[in-house]
């Protein structure tokens, strides 16, 4: 049974979408190209059923950056880009044309992008709700998305067993690389955000 009503999930989606637009704007500035972002909705999943819920993308091999946020709420953010497009994203971040190999410098540039995008997201969250959250240092992993998503889920939602997952789809229009920004919250964190929104409205 869902712990969150559809109306609340929609409200949460609206606020996370507006915060993720800040992340997209930050990425756009970093690569000097427009970035489209779309958050179709917030998914509430019981931890064991998360694998089924993300089945369509679980086997995709990706390069991912994870940061966890601590403060008024616990929140995790994982930026992932398909491994075949990571070199293209790194090239844009490094001001180069085409694609670069995933060197230490290339990985560092993607990690830094994740860092800045999380910072922008958290600034957006503070502006919209007043909630203050500090992000951890960023770390990177390369594996299948399903495997990499395990850690953020353990980090944020293992205490309650329920995870709220928002998938923000990011794309540089036309032929540019694509990425996903996963926002992970536990139920308590989601309730806190909703309480702030409801108090303001």
């Amino acid at each position: 049974m869902a712990l969150m009503s559809e109306a609340d999930a929609n409200k949460l989606g609206v606020i996370l979408n507006s915060c993720s637009k800040e992340s997209a704007r930050a990425l756009s500035k970093l690569i000097s190209k427009p970035v489209r972002s779309r958050l179709p909705g917030v998914m509430e999943a019981w931890v064991p059923s998360l694998e089924e819920a993300t089945e369509d993308i679980a086997d995709q091999e990706v390069c991912a950056v994870y940061l966890s946020g601590e403060g008024d709420v616990r929140i995790g953010a994982m930026l992932s880009t398909p491994i075949g497009e990571a070199g293209e994203l790194a090239a844009l971040l490094m001001g180069k044309k085409g694609k670069v190999g995933l060197s230490a410098l290339a990985k560092s540039s993607i990690t830094e992008a994740g860092n800045i995008m999380m910072g922008s997201f958290l600034n957006g969250l503070r502006k919209a709700t007043g909630l203050r959250v500090r992000a951890s240092a960023a770390s990177m992993g390369i594996d299948t998305l399903g495997t990499l998503l395990e850690l953020p889920v353990l980090d944020i939602a293992s205490r309650t067993g329920t995870v709220l997952l928002a998938r923000v789809r990011l794309r540089v229009p036309k032929t540019g690389p694509s990425a996903n920004l996963f926002i992970i919250l536990d139920h308590q964190g989601a309730r806190e955000i909703l309480a702030r929104i409801n108090a303001d409205s």
Binding site: P48, S139, L151, R159
Partner: protein
């Protein structure tokens, strides 16, 4: 005939004595604890999420394999209930990776290592012999436990398949 696959999701436990079945899961920093009683050809798998709670355990969350200790206990009990002899049970484990690393090469999350250490310690305490393990590294693993033979097949993105 193709074996039937029983998927063991995060925090869950499964037991099977159907010789045509395979217990399967995908682990990163989690640990797949696989127990086998060769006398009755019964296999059990727990998908362990965390070594131990730091905030105290809550009974409201029915995830039997959330913690290494509750997972080991739940799996041993489930196999015993279905006729397995505790003294005949042997273990194999896989997982416990640290997938995310800081630029300096250090790992900021040590959940994988701690999951593996806790599982080994609990098996020792319960007198269950650990026959094989594939632990650590920075990669996820697809794990299949064959009920007919007790063989553990561990596949990784980089290194292919290993049979334990």
């Amino acid at each position: 005939m193709m074996p039937s696959t029983i998927h063991v999701a995060m925090g869950q436990v499964a037991v099977s004595d159907d010789r045509e079945s395979v217990l399967s899961t995908l682990v990163g920093s989690c640990v797949a604890l696989c127990l086998y009683d060769s006398r009755v050809k019964m296999a059990g798998m727990a998908h362990i999420m965390l070594p131990e709670s730091v905030e105290g355990k809550t009974s409201s969350n029915p995830l039997p394999a959330r913690y290494a200790d509750s997972a080991t206990e739940a799996l041993l009990k489930a196999m015993h209930r279905r006729g397995s002899d505790m003294s005949k049970i042997r273990a194999k484990i896989a997982g416990g990776a640290d997938l995310f690393h800081h630029e300096t090469g250090t790992s900021l999350f040590t959940i994988g290592k701690r999951n593996a250490e806790a599982t080994r310690r609990l098996l020792r305490e319960r007198g269950v012999r650990l026959m094989a393990e594939d632990i650590g590294g920075d990669h996820g693993r697809r794990v299949e436990f064959v009920v007919e033979t007790g063989e553990l097949i561990v596949a990784t993105r980089r290194d292919g398949e290993r049979r334990l």
